[in-house]
């Protein structure tokens, strides 16, 4: 059962005058995955030479008319459905008016009173397996602005319009979040859903996913405080830092008898602080009005239903299935479904094999190796079928779990298959009772004194005998069989 939007005691911040609650709402700008822009046929690819992906529409040339990209509309609807949200079959594009050097038309085509997607929900995965539902207020389609470079010339700003007109989905949350940790969980979950849907690549470094954070504080149970909006925070870590700093600033100001001014603030990641953006003082007077160049967007309910039917299995459903069918813990299932590629990889490893053992190997050994090598799962030196083969060799007792780690290391280094390495290095586990018994007898004969001590009550020596036999067999004795046989023999 999801918890209500109320701060845990641990989320409260202690000030001089008592505890304070942080109230957060997030506005995420997610760049739509599409070949062409929202209202023009210019390309959207990242990293092109400046102003080479610009049409006359994007550059705001007089007389140019916008024509909407049907795929961008489909992507917005798909995202809305993935967020379990209402799809508005009738929506309207408006002009949001403001002046800035990288906005050539002097207005951004956006949606205001009638967005394409209405209320939805995101379920947060919190520590300890807790979950909590966070409301989505709306999702609307709008154009991105161009990019300004301020550091290329002492007195000039350089403007590149390649990004101008690229489709964005602005996804607005309800003020349901109560801590930096929850804001991070929200962003991670949203990014995961967008990537599963294929509607946004979620790349925060390249600016495909950008976040504005609305922060206010209040005494628990009091009405909402005045909020400040922190603009363009471009990593999950910075979102956390910006929230912590801004909440502290507001609490100190209020406790000193001051007042919060509603304003737009900028996060300075170098200093880890937020500061006022004076230039945005008038910016909230956008004078929205319906764009006379665009008729309302009318969607067909049957078309929306077809998109809904084509949605992939999303992280929450996949997680529930992994827990039910594979008996995985909440944590393991959560880690495995974070990325579609990881979930697919795991399912291949687990196919026809012990699913819990497969989960352990993917999460501990494979992720460990990938982290050390700085690689993604797509670049994994060990393929999913190859790791599955290794897990199979453990399950059928061909090798022990300990030997398997050496085999895995060899697989990472050589790219060879698990069975091939086991044969080549002679690592097949000794499961022949007679052979293990013979080793035990030999060790016991060599260490008759220790046997006597053990039988005299020095139980701790059991580990010594295990070690000796393992050493003698090159670690290949089946551990469970060895334990059982050794116990019997030592007991006399």
């Amino acid at each position: 059962m999801a918890e209500a939007a109320q701060a845990n005691d641990t989320d409260l911040i202690q000030g001089r005058t008592g505890a304070w609650e942080i109230v957060l709402g997030l506005e995420v700008h997610a760049q739509v995955v599409s070949k062409a822009k929202l209202f023009s046929g210019a390309a959207t690819a990242f990293g092109a030479e400046p102003n080479t992906q610009v049409s006359f529409v994007d550059a705001g040339f007089p007389g140019m008319l916008p024509v909407i990209n049907e795929y961008c509309v489909e992507q917005a609807v798909r995202t809305g459905l993935g967020l379990d949200a209402e799809i508005n079959l009738h929506s309207v594009f408006d002009r949001k008016n403001y002046f800035y050097a990288d906005l050539p038309a002097g207005y951004q085509i956006s949606q205001y009173l009638q967005p394409i997607v209405g209320k939805g929900t995101i379920t947060l995965d919190l520590p300890g397996g807790r979950t909590r539902a966070v409301g989505i207020t709306r999702l609307h389609l709008e154009q991105d602005a161009g990019k300004s470079l301020h550091d290329q010339h002492p007195t000039k700003t350089y403007v590149d319009l390649n990004r101008a007109g690229v489709a964005l989905m602005e996804i607005v949350s309800e003020p349901d979040l109560r801590s930096a940790e929850e804001a991070g969980a929200y962003l991670k979950k949203l990014r995961s859903i967008l990537r599963y849907l294929g509607t946004c690549d979620g790349n925060m470094e390249e600016g495909s996913l950008r976040c504005d954070v609305n922060v206010s504080v209040r005494k628990p149970g009091a009405p909402l405080g005045t909020r400040c909006e922190i603009k363009n925070v471009n990593s999950i870590r910075f979102v956390g830092q910006a929230i912590e700093y801004e909440a502290r600033r507001q609490i100190e100001l209020l406790e000193d008898g001051g007042e919060i001014r509603q304003e737009t603030r900028l996060f300075d990641s170098g200093r880890g602080e937020t500061r006022s953006m004076r230039s945005k003082e008038h910016a909230h007077d956008y004078r929205y009005f319906p764009d006379p160049d665009l008729l309302p967007l009318e969607l067909d309910a049957a078309w929306v239903a077809r998109i809904k039917a084509s949605l992939p299995e999303l992280p929450d459903a996949k997680k529930a299935r992994f827990m039910k069918d594979f008996d995985l813990s909440t944590y393991d299932a959560g880690v495995l479904v974070g990325e579609q590629e990881t979930a697919d990889f795991y399912e291949t490893v687990a196919s026809g094999r012990d699913p819990k053992l497969a989960a352990n190997w993917v999460i501990s050994e494979l992720f460990g190796a990938l982290n050390r090598a700085g690689k993604t799962i797509a670049e994994s030196p060990v393929s999913a079928p190859a790791l599955g083969e290794l897990v199979g060799l453990i399950s059928d007792n061909t090798i022990s779990g300990r030997i398997a780690k050496d085999v895995f290391q060899a697989m990472v280094e050589t790219g060879k298959g698990a069975a091939a390495i086991v044969e080549e290095k002679g690592l097949r586990q000794v499961t022949d009772t007679g052979a293990i018994e013979a080793e035990i007898d030999r060790i016991m004969a060599t260490h008759a004194d220790k046997v006597a001590e053990y039988r005299g009550g020095k139980d701790k020596l059991f580990g010594f005998f295990v070690g000796q036999v393992m050493k003698a067999t090159g670690g290949k004795a089946n551990p469970a069989m060895l334990n059982e046989l050794l116990k019997k023999k030592l007991a006399g």
């Binding site: 046929g41 400046p50 992906q53 470079l149 700003t157 319009l161 008038h282 008729l295």
Partner: protein
């Protein structure tokens, strides 16, 4: 609805129009006239009438997701008062 000078000055700022103080009074009068004219529309009872987005009952035309434009930097920059290294160059906008 009446417009004071402060409101007129604010609208001028939003529209990036430089306004001399003495022009504000005259403009306030003109703008008030326009607003009064528009306000007459409030006398019409439109309850139950859906907002109209245009006189022609067309559907919004849509386009396939294909790259059909761009790659024409010289013409994009042709009218720019100043350009450098493929960028528009404008007076520094400091944040």
């Amino acid at each position: 609805m009446s417009l004071d000078r402060k409101t007129v000055a604010h609208i001028a700022t939003l529209a990036r129009i430089r306004l001399e103080p003495k022009e504000a009074d005259a403009l306030a009068g003109e703008l008030e006239g326009i607003l009064r004219w528009v306000e007459q529309l409030n006398e019409v009872d439109v309850s139950g009438v859906a907002p109209m987005s245009g006189v022609e009952q067309f559907k919004l035309p849509q386009r396939k997701d294909a790259v059909t434009d761009g790659g024409d930097r010289d013409r994009i920059l042709a009218n720019a008062p100043e350009a450098a290294a493929g960028f528009f160059a404008v007076p520094k906008v400091v944040e």
